[in-house]
Amino acid sequence: MSLLDTKPEHIEGWNRPPVIEPDGEGELLEVAMGPHHPSTHGVFRMDVALDGERVVRLKPVFGYLHRNHEKIAEGTTYLASMPYTDRLDYFCSLSNNWAYALAVEKLVGQEVPERAQYIRVILAELTRIQNHASTIGFLLQEMGASGTPLMYAFREREKILDLFESLTGSRMMCNYMRFGGCRVDVSGPWLAATRKVVAGLPAFVDEFEALLSSNEILMARCQGVGVLKPALAVNASISGPMLRASGVNYDIRKVDHYGIYDRFKFRVPLGDHGDIYDRYMVRVLEMRESIGILNQALKEIPGGPIMDPKAKLRGFRPKAGEAYGRIEAPKGELGFYLISDGSPNPYRYRVRPPSLINLTVLEDMCLGQNVADVVLIFGSVDIVLGEVDR
């Protein structure tokens, strides 16, 4: 059905998208942005109804990359889903590993040794830095700064991916964490190389900011565009940098203290306007805070085992019950909900995808804006289609 045939009706309730009336001159034009539009980072479609340049209706269309990850995971053992979680958000495989391991550890009451906790924090924060850097690079790419900012970001990302490769054997599909620890131990030379990379990161963020933060074009295109109000952001379950850019102080690392995040000193950057520029700025500031966490973790990392000796790998059968575990992934709240019926396979395995749920308010942010800004608003949400469609 065409979007032009549907007449948007006003639904009672403050948390519904507004109804934008066309100005009455000329006809509406329906544009399918995607599934092969370069700004969609994959296969995603936005059906947009345009009145001139102005967006009057927008419907996101998903499912092009759907492979029913949850069903596949229910048909296999707990551990066998671990490599598959890498493929959800393929930019941040280590965060996905941690979220899944955390949920299973909650389900069985598994402890994690100190050293493994530190390794997890180090890897998760490295993941966050490379994700935020690439996201900003892609955002600039969509703004028309073709190539250069993205390549600056990818230069840094490359160094971090090299660290992942030397530790886990894979650049993006790391499959590193296990229930009760990690798969292989970090070596002295690896830690030395990581310290060296982390020591170079502040200079990179400074350079990035000097080039971008006060750039006139970036400010003109981003400030006041795609505004998301804090009340709607909370009601629509928005999470991650997007929620904090709207001024809501909610970082799961601070709220849940999962892992050992209560030991590190870091601040939670917040925005005041909730526009694209704030989302950009929150990500830059989060990179700086992540560097701070990395410095503390690399200094304090203790020796010891990386796996709990009581952890069971073979014949892993959790007792009947359920658990929901969540972490602050770079894109937002990544959760896993598991129900066990005592068999080796999960009875129910659910991924709470931050990318999909952050798109709930895409329509609200885009209505009334120019069609060229839709690309930017969409880019500032930061999604990966592997996680949206699962």
Binding site: G13, V234, S237, Y250, V255, Y324, G325, R348
Partner: protein, 217 residues
């Protein structure tokens, strides 16, 4: 964090006839949940969101669970008249025998909501709703008017489990395509044969394909 029992008491004080049941979770996570009556679910959800002491303003996760019909085997003592030959004389004697009887407990579809409080940095509270069965009475009220974050997630549950959320503003399939029948996350879903990998569908494969198609139409 208040305990689930305290939250249950608060709901019962605020919403008359709420009919909330406590569902215990035996795992070490100990995330117990509250089972809501579908008729009262919107009122209870609005109370949970708006009450200043609870303020569950953030709906983190919505998901469906499919519970199949369960066959429960029970041992029952049954008294029977048995004809026996005792000392060469045929007699009818009442004897108590243990028998295994099978009872079918009907299955249902379940929607699970995980709530957090951004205002009070509290949570999680797990609430659930159940349908009457898995075939025709599969409606329950949508909580999207209360928490907008449920919009896409309830669409996903509708798509993959077939729960119909009454009051949802835009209940369409989200991940599968519009012409798709069936709900792939249900436990009794039959995967289609991989016809497309056969060079040409003929003989056995063609027969299976046609049977499968006929059963779907």
């Amino acid at each position: 964090m208040r305990t689930v029992e305290e939250i249950k008491a608060a709901i019962e004080a605020a919403v008359p006839d709420a009919g909330v049941t406590l569902v215990m979770n035996p795992s070490p996570a100990a995330q117990h949940s509250l089972l809501l009556q579908p008729e009262k679910a919107v009122a209870v959800a609005t109370f949970l969101r708006d009450s200043p002491e609870l303020a569950f303003d953030y709906l983190s996760n919505v998901t469906g669970v499919d519970w199949l019909d369960k066959e429960i085997a029970e041992k029952v003592k049954v008294t029977k008249s048995v004809t026996k030959t005792v000392d060469g004389v045929e007699q009818t004697v009442d004897e108590t025998v243990e028998e295994t009887q099978k009872r079918v407990e009907p299955g249902y579809l379940e929607a699970v909501y995980h709530l957090y409080s951004v205002a009070l940095k509290d949570g999680p509270l797990v609430i659930r709703m159940r349908t009457a069965n898995r075939t025709d009475k599969i409606e329950m009220p949508s909580l999207t008017p209360v928490w907008r974050g449920a919009e896409f997630q309830e669409r996903e549950v509708f798509d993959l489990y077939g729960i119909v959320f009454a009051g949802h503003p835009d209940l369409r399939r989200i991940l599968m395509w519009d012409g798709f029948k069936d709900h792939p996350m249900r436990k009794d879903y039959v995967e289609p044969d991989d016809f497309e990998y056969e060079p040409t569908a003929h003989d056995e494969v063609l027969k299976r394909a046609q049977e499968r198609q006929a059963s779907r139409d």
